[in-house]
Amino acid sequence: MIPFGQASLLLAVLTAAWALVAGALSGSSGSDGLFVSSRRALFATAALLTLGLLAVEYALLTDQFGVALVAQTSHLAQPVQYKISALWAGQSGSLLLWAWILSLYAVGAALLNRSRHRELMPWVHSTLGGVLLFFTSTLAFVTPPLALGPPHADGAGMNPLLQNYWMMIHPPTLYLGYVGFSVPFAFAIAALASRRTGEVWIRTTRRWTIFAWLFLGAGILLGSYWAYIELGWGGYWAWDPVENASFMPWLVGTAFLHSVMVQEQKRMLKVWNVVLIILTFSLCIFGTFLTRSGIISSVHAFTGSGLGPYFGVFLIIVVVGSLGLVILRLPDLRSDHRLDSLVSRESSFLLNNLILVGIAFAVFVLTTWPVWSELATGKNVTMGQPIFNRVTLPWFLILVLLSGIGPLIAWRRASLRSLRRNFLLPALVALAVVLLLTAAGVREVYPLLFYFCSVFVLGTISGEFWRGARARQATQSEGFAMALSRLVWRNKRRYGGYIVHAGVVVAVVGIAGSSAYRKEFTFEQVRPGDTLTFAGYSLTYDRHLIETLPEHLRIVMEATLFRDGHPISVLVPERRFYERVDNPTTEVAIHPNWAVSGPADLARFGEDIYLVPITVDPDSGLASFKVFVNPFVNWLWAGGIVLILGSCLAVLPDRRERQMLQVASEEERAVA
């Protein structure tokens, strides 16, 4: 099976190369034979990569420790699910997963458009083939996942921190996002190469883009949740370079999703849209470069990979090649830029784009600052959380505000009447909430501003749902619930977008609350039987147990959490000691509070009691603990789920979208 897998990965290089060449030849000559051949080459690449991936999984599941990847990431007693996920715990395996997902995307794009966009598709095949060629070559010649190493009786095993269900699904989800942006990128390159720079490529890739954006966002969210429950420092986002690597393309991808609407409606911003998707894809590659090059240290990075130069060169080819093509095609991308008013949806989307790209730029500068600092001063520096928060926070605030304003301002020109109708009441309600919070003793400026913006945006979105449903009721004689559901179902893109914005706002409430009002308590020299009190709770440390499990020894501490004298939860944190790992790991215990006893208690809705064992004496059980009270933190996860649901709605097929795509295709054919 292993030689079979190795041969498959080598052959995949040839098929990917043929997809690149045949697609380009077909695009320039119009040859149907080469077009079909390039498509088949993509299918063959996907089939060969699937075989390669199955061979690696077979090696992992059958404990073939002669394969270096298996010896590094698995061992005999490793649970089956973690043997499977060991594929992406190692450098070469994660690249194979990346290439395999890309090949599936390529097959999907080729199949779904096999009888459409004849002028674009050869170049799409060629571009996707080119990206696949890079990854398959890397897998075949630089870091082969089935490379043999010295024979071992047992493997080193996966890092215990990665042995977590969320970590099983986080990387594939993130890769579905990262890799998914290859499809709109390929269509953009195809539009430039074939000089079909109208709205067809934008309309064709809209759902692909939302799909990639959704998975990248979900991947970031899953990663944050994993960090929260596994790393034990009470937070979920540390502005680590690898976290930032996934956040940057998500930000620029968000800007792209908004700015394409301006091109669809007004046929403006053609150059900007092409540049945005090139930037998004380049940032996806940059993220991989950052993770694997070792230029910036990160807890999540693959260390000592030596892949940096290859990714660096590929990144340069992508950026220089794509932007060169944009410059070459500038005459085709010219459009009539005319605005009827400065107060219009077009303007607000441009502002939103500026801030999204600006934040991505700020994150890029700060993430890479250690490199610049070393070049300029010869000294390495660390860029911790405070500088990221300080630099980006004001811009996030404006962005949240714009998420409530932009979608409700009219295209072309907003009248004073419509502005008043859409925004006056939400602004007054938001102001009232801020006054109430101030009266209740909240004095911190940023949380107050964020809460103002959040209530304002939720108000504007609710108003939009209300007005739409009422208008439908008036014309269709339907009940409110029916009118609302039909309104949403028949305008999936628009209302899906509103739901996404609502999700962002709920998440923002969670982020603002948990960052500003997190409370931290340290308790030392705690003996079994002692009771600790903090923030209206009390915690009795009941006992400690030592257990030996197949993979590790663990000290389990049991503690009962009380509120108003009543037991509400038993918290069971652990310290784990692995024979094959130097330092013990921590399993935190979390109690989410959903119980509210009255209005004064509302601020506790969705807060977490987060118990971290820091030290424990195995004989006496004498321990020290940290307790975090994280208010509103569950709002972040809830907002993330709302965001995912909204994106799922927006990505569903839409009759009107199809009609618009058909019109755009006919127009483009007529012009050509």
């Binding site: 960090a227 008013s341 400065l342 303007s347 500068v365 390495n380 020894l553 013990p584 030290t615």
Partner: protein
């Protein structure tokens, strides 16, 4: 499942790891300054531990915030040095001297590194000014040309169009 014998061996090995790595620290090490420490020691400890990075590698937390057990020694050292009268600034300077500037959670706002604090914001502000100028240019009305002479009114055509418009509006599904 491993045999009882191998489980016993694993337990013995793990307890040995515990004894060697953790247990000695468990009774003496503290994640925070001693509650009995003088207020100025506690204050100084918070300053130093807030500005200096924990090098456990967990999530680039400050010594004060990190919940790992790796930096107990340095935490203890900081408290001892503060108790002996050393100033927080001097301790930070000596730590930077020993480990390099990367030991700080964020670089000092001086020299080249001061740029990191202002450059991103300044660029976004410049970008905003640029976007404003572009939008203003795009929203300028086109230069006035010759006034077009309206064609004579065709009332029959207007009536046809109006009735079609009303019919189409009636079909609109909001």
């Amino acid at each position: 499942m491993p045999s009882p014998e191998s489980r016993r061996r694993l337990r013995a090995a793990a307890l040995a790891v515990l004894a060697a790595v953790v247990a000695p620290g468990a009774l003496v090490a503290r994640p925070a300054p001693s509650p009995a420490a003088a207020p100025e020691v506690q204050e100084g400890w918070n300053t130093v531990a807030g500005e200096v990075l924990c090098w456990c590698g967990c999530a680039r937390q400050s010594l004060r915030d990190c919940t790992c057990g790796e930096s107990f020694d340095i935490r203890q050292q900081i408290e001892t040095r503060l108790a002996s009268g050393e100033k927080p600034e001097a301790i930070i300077a000596s730590l930077v001297n020993e480990h390099g500037e990367q030991i700080l959670v964020v670089p000092k706002r001086q020299g080249f590194n001061a740029l990191a604090w202002v450059l991103p914001g300044a660029c976004i502000a410049l970008g905003a000014a640029f976007v404003f100028l572009v939008l203003r240019r795009w929203s300028r009305p086109p230069a006035p040309g010759p006034v077009p002479v309206p064609p004579p009114r065709d009332e029959a055509a207007e009536a046809r169009l109006r009735s079609r418009l009303e019919r189409d509006l009636g079909r609109v599904d909001f």
